[in-house]
C-alpha cells in the first residue's frame, strides 16, 4: 500500500516536471518542482499517519539452572575407598556457597535435584544417600531449561553428576539428543563427580533366555564394559553354582569400552540353576559389585530321550515302540536283538540288515544323554554287558531313570540277580530257574499306593480308576521276584498279592519294574473288548513322565516367590508343597531349608517351617547379600521319617540399571557440554567466572503514542503549497 502511494506521488511529481522542464528560467523550474515535491511530501504524511511512541523500560536478569544428581549411583564411592559421590558433591556445594551467592547476584539461580525426574532442591542440603531410581540427564536439562518463571532468558545450566545416565544418553549423545541440546541456546557446564574413580570393569548386561533345553547348546550374551584400563586380557567366566561351565578371554584395548562376549555351554541335566557371569576385580576399580551378574536358568527337556533295549521282537515291544514313536515328546533310540547266536538265518551277513549291537557306544559313551533307559525282556549275558552294568546303575543313582519290563529274559529270568542292576531295582531278584516266571493268568488290582500314584491314575475319580484297572484283560503271566526293597511301592498286584508294577528310587534316580511282558493287552486286547487303548497309552505316558521327573508329577515342590530378589528389599521367600512319594499331603511335616551360593557352596541353614493341613508352607529366608543361591528343602514327618526333598534356585541382585551400570561417565558429560558450547568444570573453578550467556533483556513497563499528522497546520500548509504552485503555473503560462 505504502509502495503504491509512493509510486503514485512520484509519478505525479514526474508528470509535473515534464510539463515545465523546457522552461528556460532555472529559478522558475526549481520553484515549481519544489512546490510539487513539498505537496507530495505533505500528502505522504497524511497517508502514513506518523507518530511518536514513548516507552518506560527496565532490564531483566537471566536464569542459571543448577542440576545436582540425586540418583542411587551417587551412593558409590567417588574414589576407591573414598567418600561417596553424593558426599563429594555436597562437599563441593558447601565449599562453593559464596560462589553461589555471587552467582545469584548476577542471575536468577534455580537449583534442582534430578534422577529420573527433576525437583527443586537446596544445594546445601543435598541427600547423602540419594535414592533416585534412574538417571536421565537430557530430561533433567530440558525440564530445568523450561521450568523458569517470568520468561527469563537462560544463561546456562550446570550439571553436577557422575554421568552414569541410563536413559537417552546411556549410549552417548546421539545426533537427535545433540540437536535437542542445541535448542537450549545456552551453554551447559558439567561438573563430573567421581571422575577420579574412572577405572571400572563391569558385566553390564547378560542376555539369555528364561529357559533352555537340556543337551542343547545355550549361548549367554554378555556385554562387558571396561573404562580406565590399558591393554589387557580379562577372563570372563560362567559358573553354574560354583562350577565353571564356560570361559572366554576378552582382549581389552584402551580405545574401546564395550565388549560383547558369547559364553556357550551344553546343560547336561534338567532343573533350575543359578548361574554367575564374572570378571576379576582389579585394583583401583570404582565398583567391585558390578564385576559379576547372576541369573537363573531353567533347563527343560525338549523331548524325553529314551533308550529302549529289547531282547527280542514281540507284540509287547511292538506296541510300546509304536506308542513312543508317535509321541512327539519322545526321542526314541531303540536296539532290538533280532537274531541270537543260536539263530540260523541261512544267509551271509551281507544279506541281512542287522547291525552290531553297539554296547560300548550306548552304555558307556552315550548313556548320560538318555533321560530314560528301558530294558524290555532283555538278558545282558549273551552280549557281554556285565562290564557296563555298574555304569548303568551309577547313571540311575546320579539322576537317571530306568525301567525293566518283564519277559522270559528279564528280571530273575534275565540273570540280573546279584548284578548292579538288581541293586537299583525296587525288587530283589531270585536266581534264574523255572520259578522265574509264573504263567498263571493274572487279574490286576490297584494297591493303596497305586490309588494315589500318578502312574496308575487312569481316571480322576478313585472309584472309576479302580473299575478301569479291574476291567482290563487278564495278563497271561508275570515274572516272579524276591522281597521288595526299602522305599519300593507296589502299585499293581495280582489277586494273589504278587507284585506286578513296582516303583522306587535309587539315590537321585527313579526306577520302575513292570513284571510282565503283556502290557500290550491293555491296548490291543482291551480294544477288542470294546475298552480301547486309552488305559495303555495313559499308563505309559504317565510312567515315563514320572520316571524322568516331569515337574508336574513331582510329589514335593519348592518355588521361590520370584526368580530375582532386590538386595535390601523384601527377603527371599519360598513356597513349599510337601507330598510324600505316595502323593498324599504331608500335613504337619517339618520343613528345613539350607542354602548355598556360587561363592559359598557349603550349605547353611536358612529357615524352617511346618506344613499346614494341605501340606503347604511358606518359608521366609533372612535377608541375603547379592549372589546366586540354591535352596534345598527337606521335609520330615513329626515322627522323624523323611518325606522328601526339593530344590530351587534364585538370585539376589539389583534389578535396576541404576546400580548395575553405575560407573562414572564423564565422557557423556563432556559430550553434553560440547553440544551446547559449554565446558567441563573443574571442582575448583569459581562458578561466577564461567562464560555464562548473559543476554540483556529489556522489559517494557509503560508505552504512550503521539500522532504527528493529526494537526490542522499540516492541512493548511498543504493547501497553501498546492495553491502557490497553481498560481505560479498559471502566471508563467503552464496549464
Amino acid at each position: 500500500m505504502l509502495a503504491l502511494a509512493v509510486t503514485a506521488l512520484a509519478a505525479g511529481v514526474w508528470l509535473s516536471f515534464r510539463g515545465f522542464r523546457s522552461e528556460p528560467a532555472g529559478a522558475r523550474r526549481v520553484a515549481l518542482l519544489g512546490f510539487r515535491l513539498l505537496a507530495a511530501l505533505l500528502l505522504l504524511v497524511l497517508i502514513l499517519e506518523p507518530g511518536i511512541e514513548l516507552r518506560s523500560e527496565s532490564r531483566v536478569r537471566a536464569r542459571v539452572a543448577l542440576l545436582f544428581d540425586t540418583s542411587r549411583s551417587m551412593q558409590f564411592p567417588a574414589a576407591p575407598s573414598g567418600p561417596t559421590r553424593a558426599q563429594e558433591l555436597l562437599h563441593w556445594a558447601q565449599q562453593h556457597q559464596p560462589d553461589l551467592v555471587e552467582l545469584g547476584a548476577r542471575f536468577q539461580v534455580d537449583a534442582y535435584g534430578f534422577d529420573k525426574d527433576v525437583q527443586p532442591t537446596d544445594p546445601m542440603r543435598l541427600p547423602s544417600d540419594p535414592q533416585g531410581p534412574a538417571t536421565d540427564i537430557l530430561g533433567a536439562i530440558t525440564s530445568a531449561a523450561s521450568a523458569g518463571t517470568g520468561g527469563r532468558p537462560l544463561a546456562g545450566v550446570l550439571v553436577a553428576s557422575d554421568g552414569a545416565d541410563n536413559a537417552e544418553l546411556s549410549q552417548g549423545v546421539s545426533p537427535a539428543a545433540a540437536a535437542e541440546l542445541r535448542k537450549l541456546n545456552a551453554p551447559v557446564f558439567a561438573l563430573p563427580v567421581g571422575a577420579r574413580a574412572l577405572k571400572d570393569l563391569a558385566v553390564e548386561k547378560v542376555a539369555v533366555d528364561d529357559f533352555a533345553f537340556v543337551r542343547n547348546q545355550v549361548t549367554v550374551d554378555v556385554i562387558l564394559t571396561a573404562r580406565g584400563f590399558s591393554a589387557t586380557e580379562v577372563p570372563v567366566v560362567l559358573r553354574r553354582e560354583g562350577q565353571v561351565v564356560a570361559q572366554r578371554t576378552v582382549r581389552i584395548s584402551g580405545d574401546q569400552s564395550r565388549y560383547e562376549v558369547k559364553l556357550s555351554f551344553v546343560p547336561d541335566r534338567t532343573g533350575k540353576f543359578a548361574f554367575t557371569v564374572a570378571a576379576p576385580v582389579y585394583e583401583g576399580e570404582a565398583i567391585a559389585q558390578n564385576n559379576s551378574r547372576s541369573f537363573v536358568l531353567k533347563v527343560i527337556r525338549d523331548r524325553v530321550r529314551v533308550l529302549l533295549v529289547v531282547g527280542r521282537p514281540s507284540w509287547d515291544v511292538r506296541f510300546l515302540r509304536q506308542l513312543l514313536k508317535k509321541d512327539p515328546n519322545v526321542d526314541l533310540i531303540s536296539f532290538f536283538i533280532l537274531r541270537t547266536p543260536g539263530d540260523d538265518p541261512h544267509s551271509s551277513q551281507d544279506e541281512l540288515s542287522l547291525i552290531p549291537f553297539p554296547t560300548q557306544e550306548i552304555f558307556q559313551e552315550q548313556l548320560k544323554t538318555f533321560d530314560l533307559v528301558i530294558f524290555q525282556n532283555f538278558n545282558h549275558r549273551p552280549y557281554r554287558m556285565s562290564q557296563y552294568l555298574d555304569g548303568i546303575a551309577a547313571y540311575v543313582r546320579d539322576g537317571g531313570a530306568f525301567a525293566m519290563i518283564g519277559g522270559d529274559q528279564s528280571f530273575s529270568a534275565g540273570d540280573y540277580a546279584g548284578t548292579p542292576i538288581e541293586d537299583v531295582l525296587p525288587v530283589s531278584l531270585l536266581p534264574p530257574g523255572p520259578t522265574a516266571v509264573d504263567e498263571t493268568p493274572v487279574q490286576l488290582h490297584l494297591t493303596e499306593a497305586g490309588r494315589r500314584h500318578p502312574i496308575t491314575e487312569l481316571a480322576a475319580h478313585a472309584g472309576q480308576n479302580d473299575s478301569i484297572w479291574s476291567a482290563l484283560p487278564k495278563l497271561p503271566g508275570v515274572n516272579t521276584s524276591g522281597p521288595l526293597k526299602g522305599g519300593a511301592q507296589v502299585l499293581l498286584e495280582s489277586g494273589e498279592g504278587r507284585p506286578v508294577l513296582v516303583v522306587g528310587e535309587a539315590a537321585r534316580g527313579r526306577v520302575l519294574a513292570l513284571l510282565t511282558d503283556s502290557s500290550w493287552f491293555w491296548s490291543f486286547v482291551a480294544a477288542g473288548a470294546q475298552q480301547g487303548p486309552r488305559a495303555y497309552e495313559t499308563f505309559w505316558h504317565s510312567a515315563i513322565r514320572w520316571l524322568v521327573r516331569d515337574p508336574a508329577l513331582t510329589p514335593m515342590r519348592v518355588a521361590s516367590e520370584r526368580p530375582t530378589f532386590e538386595p535390601g528389599g523384601e527377603p527371599p521367600a519360598l513356597d513349599v508343597q510337601v507330598r510324600g512319594s505316595d502323593y498324599g499331603a504331608a500335613a504337619g511335616a517339618h520343613i528345613g531349608v539350607v542354602i548355598s551360593s556360587a561363592t559359598d557352596p557349603a550349605p547353611r541353614p536358612a529357615g524352617m517351617a511346618q506344613a499346614g493341613p494341605d501340606g503347604n508352607a511358606r518359608v521366609v529366608l533372612p535377608p541375603l547379600p547379592p549372589g546366586a543361591y540354591k535352596a534345598q528343602v527337606t521335609a520330615k514327618r513329626p515322627d522323624g521319617t523323611a518325606v522328601g526333598e526339593a530344590e530351587d534356585a534364585f538370585v539376589v541382585a539389583p534389578a535396576s540399571r541404576e546400580q548395575i551400570e553405575a560407573a562414572p561417565r564423564p565422557d557423556i558429560l563432556q559430550a553434553v557440554a560440547s553440544a551446547t558450547k559449554g565446558k567441563m568444570v573443574d571442582p575448583a573453578d569459581p562458578l561466577a567466572s564461567l562464560p555464562w550467556r548473559d543476554p540483556e533483556r529489556v522489559e517494557v513497563g509503560q508505552r504512550t503514542s503521539k500522532p504527528l499528522w493529526d494537526n490542522w497546520k499540516v492541512l493548511v500548509l498543504l493547501c497553501l503549497v498546492v495553491g502557490a504552485e497553481w498560481t505560479l503555473r498559471r502566471r508563467w503560462g503552464y496549464a
Partner: protein, 246 residues
C-alpha cells in the same frame, strides 16, 4: 480228536527251542481268517513259516495257527491275521468288516495271500472289494522297493512266492504303518510241505532260490509287523546302504 493241523504242527512244537514265557499269547502266533470261502488253501504253510521265523530270528513263535472268524473277539489276541484263498471269497458281513476295521485301526496287521496267484483272479477281486469296504475309499497300492518291509531282517529286492504272478507287493497304510499287505504270488504256498515233509508245490520260475526268497519275505513281513520301521532308525542306515551297494 486230533486234527490234521495239530498233527502237522506237533514236530514243530517239539522243536521249539525255548521255554514258554507267559503262555502262548506272548508268542508270535498267526491267526487265520475263517471266511465264507476256501479259507485254508495251504494248511501247513503258516506253521512252516512260524518254524522258519523261530529258527532264523530271535522271535519266539507258536507253530499253532489260530483259525478265527473275522468277528471273533479272540481275534484281538492275535495281532497278525492272514486272509487267504485260491477262490473267490464271499463278501463278509458288515459286522465282520466293522470288526476288521477296528482290528486294523488299533494296531492289527492283515496279510492277504492269493493262493491262486492269478492276476485279476476271483480272490484278488474279492480281496480288493473287502479292502475298499474296510477303509471306504481306500485301495491297495504298490509297496515301493525301498520300503522298510524289504529290509526288516533280510535285504530283499522284491516279492517272491510260489509263482511270479505280480512284480510287487501292494499295501494299505493306516496311521503311518502298513496295516494291510497283499501278496499275489502265493507266498505261503511256497512254504507248504506235505505230510511226509516234502515241499508241496514246485516253485516257478526260480526254483529253490525263489522258495528261499519266499521264506525270507515271510520272515521280513513278520519282523515288520513286530518292529515296524525299526530298520529306518538312523543308526541302521549307513550299514544298510553299505550292504545294498555290495
Amino acid at each position: 480228536m486230533v486234527s490234521r493241523r495239530t498233527l502237522l504242527a506237533l514236530p514243530l512244537l517239539l522243536a521249539a527251542r525255548r521255554a514258554f514265557a507267559f503262555g502262548e499269547q506272548a508268542r508270535f502266533t498267526f491267526a487265520q481268517a475263517r471266511h465264507g470261502g476256501r479259507w485254508d488253501p495251504r494248511p501247513d504253510g503258516l506253521s512252516r513259516l512260524s518254524w522258519e521265523i523261530s529258527k532264523r530270528t530271535s522271535i519266539e513263535t507258536s507253530p499253532a495257527v489260530k483259525a478265527l472268524g473275522l468277528a471273533d473277539p479272540d481275534l484281538f489276541r492275535y495281532p497278525f491275521v492272514v486272509l487267504s484263498s485260491d477262490q473267490a471269497m464271499p463278501a463278509p458281513a458288515d459286522n465282520e468288516v466293522a470288526e476288521l476295521r477296528r482290528y486294523l485301526s488299533y494296531g492289527g496287521f492283515l496279510l492277504v495271500d492269493d493262493a491262486s496267484a492269478t492276476r485279476g483272479g476271483p480272490f484278488e477281486q474279492s480281496a480288493r472289494q473287502l479292502v475298499s469296504r474296510i477303509v471306504p475309499g481306500g485301495r491297495l497300492s504298490r509297496v515301493p522297493r525301498d520300503h522298510v518291509l524289504y529290509k526288516s531282517f533280510y535285504l530283499l529286492d522284491g516279492p517272491a512266492g510260489r509263482v511270479a504272478a505280480t512284480p510287487d507287493l501292494e499295501g494299505l497304510e493306516l496311521g503311518g504303518r502298513l496295516a494291510v499287505l497283499y501278496s499275489g504270488n502265493d507266498m505261503i504256498g511256497a512254504l507248504a510241505r506235505d505230510s511226509l515233509g516234502s515241499w508241496e508245490f514246485e516253485v516257478t520260475p526260480g526254483g529253490e532260490l525263489q522258495r528261499e526268497k519266499s521264506i525270507r519275505l515271510g520272515v521280513n513281513i513278520a519282523m515288520y509287523s513286530l518292529c515296524l520301521d525299526y530298520k529306518e532308525d538312523q543308526v541302521h542306515i549307513p550299514f544298510i546302504m553299505k550292504r545294498r551297494r555290495i
